[in-house]
Amino acid sequence: MGLLPRTHHGAERGGEGMISTIAYGLTIGAILYIISIGLSLTFGTMRIVNFAHALVYTIGAYALASSLPFFGGSFVLAVIFGVVVVIPLAYLIERFVIRRLYGQSIDYAIIATYAVLLIGVDACKWVWGATPLSVSDPIGTAWTILGVDLPVYRLIIIALSLLVFVVLELFFRRTVVGKVVVAGLEDKEATRSLGINVDKYFSFVFILGSCLAALGGALYVPITSLHPYMGFQVLLLSFAVVIVGGLGNMRGTFVAAFALGLVMAVTGRFWGAASETMVFVVMAVALIVKPIEV
């Protein structure tokens, strides 16, 4: 169930090892950020924990792996395919599960989306089998920076997450749709009283978040291995990111994702097995310092 890159060697010592550890941490942080946005948005707008988010992530990753041969090995096209494929799935989940549970106890939403996750994971096992698959690094070269070999692919992931951050900032601050969503995050009732159909925008946000989760899943495939249960672990980590960053706080999510990615990498350097547990310890500390009373 390990989430740390399998090429990561905890045994390295010295300053060079630390630089590559930090680089790995930033890569994990970038992936966590891309995945967590959707969770943070649905959490912030609908107060729903969407367990099906993990399913969308898994589907995105599997779609990339199986479509790669059809696109003649073009990684970019396969990533785009992985992202597009989840749009109808996300729409169906939103339309037939989440929308039917508006206004009801949120516990039912948690259980229902978990049920969707169970069904989807079992379907993945059915289609692709339970044995882990892997995809090789699409670029394969590494740049030497400060005497450390850094794979270019990871640097691209970090750059891409920064790009996503900038685009989302612009989207939420400059466009009407983005502003409506921000207003809905702040006060749903007041936004609705202005005559705005908030739910329509929320379902748009839901699909956007799902696409980003699929993007994160697709980008992560070359670093880790693919298996039907890969979503469970990532979901908990992204939840920790959302909690530490603040519900529905986009910038907080960004900072928290990279901070927790570094926590994972640094812990993993000394004790590989403890890296994920450390994230939850940080989350518990964050909750003690700043309790969430929703």
Partner: protein, 317 residues
């Protein structure tokens, strides 16, 4: 006439519960029936938090696992006395609840569910890897219990009888607890915590108390599982198994002792027999959960109760 019949039945409910489980023995093996009862204790512990206090925990396996491992470690390091093991397990469950409770009970809704899940994950990691020296890691650990007086827990009949007594005691305890002012306050917290605070109650304290009681009961279920199987594995603390108790609680009907029992039995029957016929068990479980959430929220007991009230109405008319 009908209503008085139900009232009479309700007076002897503990006896009826015992009779139902005794009737299960010829249908199943004795160890299976014991398993059913242990699961019912666990569902009751979960229901105290979910059904009565309205907080969905997605990590109750942690407390079950703590109980199981505590009972196993007690046999290995302290003494083979099974009652000491039970005591150690319940105290350990309570201690974990007391340690994590102040962080957990301040949250509600989704946060409550997922923080429990996160701690469950930490516990799973501790049992599987970090403390593998003591817990045996993936291989698990065996524990052997001495026989004390007439209680020789190697005998399935003895463990059946003892578990039945435990279950009856827990049912009685939970019913008394939830009928008491404390139980009413818990339901007030479920409905509207701000009002409970308005009335001057320190809701944090009561929530913590309910949480610790629930974790102790879950640990008791874990310790009983240890007595029944004498072997602890990381599957006792596996966070992906949390859905079992949630499903059991939902199909039975949350917030009711009889509902929890009906759900516990119902889930165990389904999970023991259906996987023999259905290949895709997780998919079935998911679909069943969706059906329960969308069409059957009141559960088995809620359905029965609606039937009874309808009958009562007819009698009066």
């Amino acid at each position: 006439m009908q209503s008085s019949l139900f009232d009479t039945l309700k007076k002897f409910d503990l006896l009826i519960i015992a009779a139902i489980f005794l009737l299960f023995i010829p249908l199943l093996t004795m160890q299976r029936t014991t398993d059913f009862m242990i699961f019912c204790v666990f569902v009751l512990a979960f229901d105290l938090i979910y059904g009565y206090m309205g907080r969905l925990s997605f990590g109750h396996m942690l407390y079950l696992g703590v109980g199981a491992y505590a009972a196993a470690l007690s046999a290995e390091h302290l003494s083979g006395n099974p009652f000491l093991a039970l005591l150690v397990a319940v105290v350990a469950g309570g201690a974990v609840g007391l340690l994590l409770g102040p962080i957990i009970v301040r949250t509600t809704g989704a946060c409550f569910a997922l923080i429990n899940l996160a701690f469950n994950q930490v516990g799973f990691f501790l049992a599987l890897i970090a403390l593998a020296e003591w817990t045996g890691g993936e291989d698990g650990m065996a524990a052997f219990y001495d026989s004390v007086w007439i209680f020789d827990f190697g005998d399935p009949k003895v463990i059946f009888g003892f578990t039945l007594l435990c279950l009856i005691a827990v049912v009685y305890f939970v019913r008394r607890l939830t009928d008491s002012p404390f139980g009413i306050l818990l339901r007030t917290i479920k409905e509207n915590e701000t009002r409970a605070k308005f009335l001057g109650y320190n809701t944090f304290f009561y929530k913590l108390l309910a949480f610790v009681l629930s974790t102790s009961l879950a640990a008791l279920a874990g310790a009983l599982t240890m007595l029944n199987y004498t072997y602890a594995t990381p599957s006792f603390i596996d966070p992906t198994r949390n859905v079992e108790v949630i499903f059991a609680c939902l199909i039975g009907g949350a917030g009711n002792v009889y509902g929890a029992l009906a759900g516990g039995i119902g889930y165990m029957v389904i999970s023991n027999y259906l996987p023999n016929y259905i290949q895709r068990w997780e998919m079935f479980l998911g679909i069943a959960l969706l059906v329960v959430v969308f069409r059957f929220q009141a559960g088995i007991w809620g359905y029965c109760r609606a039937l009874i009230t309808a009958r009562k109405g007819e009698v009066k008319a």
